[in-house]
């Protein structure tokens, strides 16, 4: 990847992470771990890949994004705010009474949210419906969806996987955020969905793996995905839950816990230092 672009994306991703911490801290609840693990991928999608229109979020020819792992809404809201869909300052209203930023994505009220999600396993079906719609009408938009690695324990995901392959939805790109942790522990201990790659292959998908925190790897994976025809494509991204905040990394306890004032200060100071280094 072009070094200048990479630097810009890294800077944006760092700001997106600060927005995640800002939102969850002010909400006094929410899901920072799995939000931080998808921050780089979302940044790449919204700042370098998807055709979106912050001034006119519902233009029919836009690319669609479905956050099937809807509990990581803080990441989606932060990237949407930084992309100009609504003010960054609004992130502080997350989960507040009267706020647009609901605990899970709400397409009726939040500009840029293409599907309401939150109950795991459902977003991918809606994403398939959007991709199918484009095929039925001969439209060119693409549909992206991010699922959790714990989420794929839901049976509906595999109903959708079968459907997407059967209907040759090559305009659909799913990303499985493989951070290895779910609420009750390691996904390999709770009810292992491994091998994830072999499962999707068996369901008729083209499977790509990438490092979720390396923009060269991300670009390579997305470029490969674009060459795939007549079958849906999934990127299994190896990620670190809590990425970017030292004490949250790889800690299952940060799945759904908000930082206290001291932890917030430390997280923001770490992210500010990363930002300063990138901008330096």
């Amino acid at each position: 990847m072009d070094e200048l672009l990479k630097k810009q994306l890294q800077i944006t991703a760092c700001k997106v992470r600060m927005g995640i911490i800002e939102g969850v801290y002010n909400a006094k609840s929410g899901h920072p771990g799995g939000s931080l693990s998808i921050a780089d991928t979302l940044t790449y999608l919204y700042f370098n890949k998807m055709h979106v229109y912050p001034e006119n979020p519902k233009l029919p020819d836009r690319d669609r994004f479905v956050l099937s792992k809807g509990h990581t809404a803080p990441a989606l809201y932060s990237v949407l705010a930084h992309r100009g869909f609504f003010p960054v300052d609004e992130l502080k209203t997350l989960r507040h009474i009267g706020a647009r930023l609901q605990g899970h994505p709400d397409m009726k009220h939040i500009p840029g949210v293409d599907m309401s999600t939150g109950s795991l396993g459902q977003g991918i079906s809606a994403a398939c419906g959007m991709a199918l719609s484009a095929k039925l009408s001969g439209e060119n938009y693409k549909v992206y969806a991010i699922l959790g690695d714990g989420e794929i324990e839901e049976g509906q995901v595999w109903e959708a996987a079968m459907f997407a392959a059967h209907n040759k939805l090559d305009n659909l790109l799913a990303i499985v955020d493989n951070n290895g942790l779910q609420i009750d522990g390691k996904i390999s201990d709770v009810c292992s969905p491994y091998p994830i790659d072999e499962k999707f292959k068996a369901f008729g998908w083209h499977v790509i793996t990438m490092d979720a925190h390396d923009f060269d790897s991300i670009e390579k994976a997305f470029n490969e995905a674009e060459t795939v025809v007549n079958q849906p494509c999934v990127i299994i991204q190896k990620s670190t839950k809590g990425k970017g905040v030292s004490f949250m990394e790889n800690q299952v306890s940060w799945h759904g816990t908000a930082p206290n004032a001291e932890q917030y200060a430390q997280a923001m100071s770490e992210l500010k230092a990363q930002l300063a280094e990138l901008e330096g």
Binding site: G121, A131, S133
Partner: protein
């Protein structure tokens, strides 16, 4: 009464979709391996490119319908009531109801008249489930004419609609030339002053027959058809409560959460009168011919007559 032509409302559903396909180019039909039984096969034959078979996966089908609706298409997701409202409830609630997407759910084989398939397939709970979802319109047509009209009304309505169809052929008593269907508006079929029978679905014709029999015994029975259980026609229900002072509801559904409950909700708040509920009395059904089951479970004009007389005696 003269013998009327009979037809199952599931047939009306499939034929209406096929008839309306040209007029509404945004109309798409989804099935979960039951196109032959839901009767959407006639649409599939006429518009193969606008029929999507999702396989035996109702949860995913509802999500596909939601995704199609976000792009402006009008999908009818079809399956048996048991699976559309039962199995897929939470997907309907969260992926269709919560975002208020323009998805229509065509649920066939509702109620005990499924017959021989037995209790596993006799869905007596769907109205209760669907009417708890905010913004969901719930329609239960009584005959072919009403079922066809309901399909077009659902297309024209912006928002999620659940329409309930039956497997059993039922008499066509509405006049297709003159019948006007409006979502949320009940229909007074017989005027009366002693008691009101409020019925829905295949119980409407039974209520008309019961009113005739009661008339012969000197009992003046008002008959109201409530095809839209949500939003219910409050005005018509309250008027009946005020003017007749006694209501008997009749539905091919559990007495918990269906028409009887919806009517009681209105009456207890606005004009408390006695409401007696005819329906499936909190039990599972079993296998058997539909006509025999309807009699056994009291879903017939004879039971309406007996229930009305008993309630009047206690009035």
């Amino acid at each position: 009464m003269a013998d009327l032509v009979k037809k199952a409302t599931r047939e009306s559903y499939g034929e209406a979709l096929a008839d309306l396909g040209d007029k509404y180019e945004n109309l798409y039909v989804l099935d979960a391996d039951l196109a032959g039984a839901t009767k959407t096969g006639v649409f599939k034959k006429k518009f193969p490119d606008r029929h999507i078979d999702c396989g035996i996966a109702e949860a995913n089908m509802m999500g596909i319908a939601a995704g199609l609706a976000t792009t402006g298409k009008v999908p009818f997701a079809s399956s048996f009531a048991m699976f559309a409202a039962g199995r897929a409830f939470e997907i309907v609630r969260n992926s269709i109801g919560y975002p208020h997407l323009n998805v229509k759910i065509g649920a066939t084989h509702a109620g005990i008249s499924v017959g021989e398939d037995g209790a596993s397939h006799q869905c007596n709970e769907d109205i209760a489930l669907m009417r708890t979802i905010p913004g969901m319109t719930v329609i239960n047509p009584a005959d072919d004419v009403e079922a066809r009209a309901a399909v077009e009304a659902a297309i024209l309505h912006d928002g999620p609609v659940y329409i309930r169809f039956g497997r059993l052929a039922v008499p066509i008593f509405h006049d297709k030339e003159t019948y006007k269907f409006e979502i949320g508006k009940g229909e007074q079929l017989v005027d009366g002053t002693d008691v009101t029978v409020i019925a829905t679905g295949l119980m409407v014709y039974e209520a008309i027959k019961a009113a005739e029999a009661l008339k012969a015994e000197g009992i003046s029975t008002r008959v109201i058809n409530i095809h839209t259980i949500k939003p219910i026609d409050r005005e018509l229900v309250i008027k009946a409560a005020k003017e007749t002072g006694l209501i008997v509801t009749a539905e091919e559904h559990s007495v918990i959460g269906g028409l009887g409950s919806a009517v009681s909700d209105v009456v207890t708040e606005a004009c408390p009168v006695k409401v007696v509920k005819i329906g499936v009395q909190d039990v599972f059904g079993h296998s058997g011919p539909a006509a025999d089951l309807l009699k056994e479970f009291g879903l017939c004009s004879e039971n309406i007559v007996a229930t009305v007389k008993k309630a009047l005696a206690e009035k």
